[in-house]
């Protein structure tokens, strides 16, 4: 305000000089009266081209001077309502401390849709108490956060391997298979190998593939119905086969092992079936299956343990051929959602025409194990 009314310091300075007049700085200082603001006045005067300065002297060069800055300030003071001013100018004036810029925020406040005379918080949960006391009426509930996760539940679960087993079991039951008893992990070499036409020197009967037992070391007795027939089959010239032509040892067959496959159970079912047919003189077709544990003394790795489960199936009927075998297998996989099944011939001592599903190189499309 002072500057607006009295004039800016440079204006005042100019008044002290006549046009063309030159005075030393010392003299000016004395006239000025105080050092206060003198240098600023000089600078501004020079800037406005009213005076010219050297190191020691000041000379007024302008004839007429107008204190524009002061008049601007006067205008501003007069204006009650703030107007648009040049920003740069405002900055300059601010720098000279001739004016200060205050920011005032204005809010226009009106009633919103949720306006309440009394302040109320949003309710997060509905409680039994609220229901009882009816305090839920008129209450606003917090919107649920769609990005948050729920509370971690403590749950029971089935084992993933058994979930798969249940799936296989269902499929086989649907296909009309009857479940076989397999409740003996310990079996004799007779049932696990010999009765299945696996010769006694076969590598699978080695210590490095099979677990032998020290207790109980030998089975109590060999099945009398089968023992002689098995001996004949191995030694050859029987049942239309030349056999393996070696001396079959009953003592070797008595050795107990942890079963290496569930096929001994199938073999027992075949014996029971043959006895039933002999007794009743009637043949009814049969389909048997089992899914149970087997044990092999093999190298373990990320996907192989020495104990694992095997799925076993058996169909006894007249007029079943390779086609029906492949048909059932294909249908089994079909029900698992695997449709591109190809068959490859392979060898097993107790089957002719064993085959396997896709070879490892097709695994990328089928993801199936390499033997069925």
């Amino acid at each position: 305000a002072k500057a607006a009314n009295e004039g800016t310091p440079e204006f005042k300075l100019i008044q002290l000089l006549k046009t063309g007049e030159e005075k030393t700085r010392e003299e000016m200082g004395k006239i000025w009266g105080s050092q206060d603001g003198l240098q600023i006045a000089i600078n501004k005067g020079m800037q406005s081209k009213w005076i010219v300065c050297t190191k020691t002297t000041i000379k007024r060069i302008a004839e007429e001077v107008k204190d524009e800055t002061a008049s601007k300030l006067k205008t501003m003071l007069a204006n009650k309502v703030p107007g648009d001013y040049d920003k740069k100018m405002l900055q300059d004036l601010k720098k000279r401390q001739l004016l200060s810029i205050k920011k005032i925020k204005f809010y226009k406040v009106t009633k919103g849709p949720n306006f309440q005379p009394k302040r109320q918080a949003e309710i997060a949960d509905l409680t039994a108490e609220m229901l009882a006391k009816k305090t839920w009426e008129g209450v606003k509930f917090k919107k649920l956060n769609p990005l948050a996760k729920g509370k971690e539940l403590s749950t029971g679960n089935f084992h993933p391997l058994f979930q798969l087993r249940d799936q296989f079991r269902s499929i086989l039951l649907e296909l009309g298979f009857e479940e076989m008893p397999t409740d003996f992990y310990v079996d004799s070499s007779f049932w696990n190998f010999d009765a299945l036409f696996i010769p006694q020197q076969h590598p699978a009967r080695d210590m490095q593939d099979t677990f032998f037992l020290s207790e109980p070391e030998l089975c109590n007795s060999l099945n009398p119905d089968l023992k002689d027939n098995v001996k004949k089959a191995h030694e050859g010239n029987c049942y239309g086969s030349i056999g393996y032509r070696y001396n079959w040892e009953p003592e070797e067959a008595r050795k107990n092992i942890m079963r290496t496959h569930t096929t001994p159970c199938s073999a027992r079912m075949l014996l029971a079936l043959s006895k039933e047919i002999a007794k009743t003189k009637v043949f009814t077709p049969k389909k048997y299956f089992s899914i149970d544990k087997v044990f092999r003394n093999e190298a373990t790795d990320a996907t192989h343990l020495y104990e694992f489960h095997q799925v076993e199936g058996l169909i006894a009927d007249t007029k079943v051929s390779l086609k029906q075998l492949m048909g059932v297998i294909a249908e089994f996989f079909n029900r698992l959602g695997i449709t591109n099944v190809k068959f490859k011939p392979t060898f097993n001592p107790y089957t002719c025409l064993l085959y396997t599903s896709p070879s490892p190189r097709d695994l990328s499309t089928s993801r199936m194990p390499s033997s069925a």
């Binding site: 403590s154 029971g156 679960n157 089935f158 084992h159 058994f162 039951l173 649907e174 009309g176 009857e178 479940e179 076989m180 008893p181 409740d183 003996f184 992990y185 004799s188 020197q201 590598p203 490095q208 593939d209 677990f211 032998f212 037992l213 020290s214 207790e215 109980p216 089975c219 109590n220 049942y239 239309g240 030349i242 032509r245 070696y246 107990n256 942890m258 077709p285 544990k293 044990f295 003394n297 020495y306 104990e307 009927d317 007029k319 051929s321 390779l322 086609k323 029906q324 492949m326 048909g327 059932v328 068959f343 490859k344 011939p345 392979t346 060898f347 002719c352 025409l353 490892p360 190189r361």
Partner: protein, 651 residues
Amino acid sequence: VFFFNDTATTEIYTQAFVGSVRCVQETGINAEYMGIICQLGSMPTIYVIKDTLISLLGKQLTDEQFMDICFDYGLEIELTDMKAMPHRDIAHEKEDQIVYKIDVPANRYDLLCAEGVARALRCYLGLSDPVTYSLTNGGKPIEKIVVDSSVKAIRPYVVCGILRNITFTPESYNSFISLQDKLHATLCRHRKFVAIGTHDLDTIKGPFLYRALPPKEICFKALNQAKEMTAEELMVLYEEDLKLKAYLGIIRSSPVYPVIYDANGVVLSMPPIINGEHSKISLKTKNVFIECTALDLTKAILTLNEVICSFSQYSNPAFTIEGVEVINEGKSEVYPKIETRDVLVDVEYVRNITGSPELTSAQCVQLLKKMDVRGEVISDLAFKAIVPPTRGDILHKCDIAEDVAVAIGFNNLKPELPNVSGTIGKQLPINKLTNELRKVCTCAKYNECLTLCLVSKVEQFTKMRKKGPSKDNKICVLLSNPISSECDSARVSLLPGLLKCLRSNIDVKLPIRFFEIGDIVLLDPSTETGARNARRLAALYSDLSAGFEYIHGLLDYIMVKLGIPCDKEVGYQLRTGKDESFIEGAQLEIVHKGVPIGIMGIVHPEVLLAFDLGYPVSLLELDIDYLAKVFFHQLILKLIDNEFRLSLIHI
């Protein structure tokens, strides 16, 4: 790679994996031994350079085509490179050749070399007819070998044959050596049953003598050795040889070792250990004398046939073999026995097996040619298969039918579903009950576990504060050749398995609830094998406190679901138990009419310490077999019944 603590154990495993041990060395870490053992699976593998196979086959095929053909034939092919080939087989400087790794069916000894595979595939592709092998000189042998009775005790049989005017190339030479290795490893059971020896006939002079002598009296320059050594010295020398040491045990303990001499006293070989340096074969060998000494004559004949027939293609004239007379106890036989064998097959049988009712006798014979088996039509109803000496795997007419099926191509037969009208699906009652119980436990928020049946004695007895098996009290099934002491017995309870499972899952949120329903193995002299399975249910609860009431709660829940009341007369009862694994007094036995059918309680802190567990545990184990036997039929009915009633009761 296997690590052992001492030489004794290393020895046992080296013997067991006879022939497959690549190297054994002392690691120096507390004198531990390292044995690199490559296991032979039941599918033998051969490595064949692709170019060699193509030239033997006589037809250019892409890798893709090869794989498809082999797939349909029953062979598994994998592409690899020279680096994968076993040491022996590398003869070539050409390092970047494509090599096929072929998995051969375990009974097809004729496919254990490139020549065999090529011959089989040539027939399969119709590029040639099945080979007929013949003995030269009208079957009359020129050479002979006399068998002395001294070998009867140690290695009674020998069979021999000769290939004349043979021309080896580096590939065929390597193949010849490799085939012998493969046969030794498979059919010969690591030289135990049969050992093959091959000799340059031009360096030796017949008649030959096969006898057994005390080791001190056998002296010769063995293969690759600089000087003559006695058999005793050789046995000592080969103790250090990684490959040969495995075979020493076959004759070591015998007072006499078998040896083959020629007429000038030159040692051909000391089977099954090593051949002599004098008669060794080389690329330049023109006439090969092959001998197979054996414990089993059948295997010896088969082995000789495989070696001599496959390589007879290189003699001149091709596919001719010279017989050798073997005189044993005055009896004279000419080997090799390469006569064909006739198998009579009725066409109806083949039709039934292949499911192809339109197959004719003539078609069967045509198809068999693709499988390297000649045949003759006898009538519309039957044909004769003429089995060559290389197909020792054909035992019965079912093998002929199988070959017809392979010749047709399995994937050319259309799969059909069997007539299902005759069979109805059926579950085993015990498995049905097990599944119901699994649902019950899962509903109770218990997590299902699957633990191993083979456990260590320490784990299931010592750690559980129980007495282990002894001579008078053989509580459990014991393995005689376990992989390690980690699994030397079969479990008699599910509880140690659950505790071990807990140890592996200690970072799971508390409270921890596990269950398992599975079989244990018990000794039972009344069964055929002396052991039987028994089904148990076990549950584990662990939290900051033992929470026995929760395990008890599970038992109550299970019994309610099964419809078994807590009643002295018709249901179950609880009484204080005396199981060492639980805290004294803090355990209850579950009984039915005085018969114990389960146990539950707070696990003893010493047991927790032994299993390295920091939180208290309560356990439950129930005999499911008993429940099934006593309650089953009513159970299944009640299960259905209970579901309707229980929905009204707040549990």
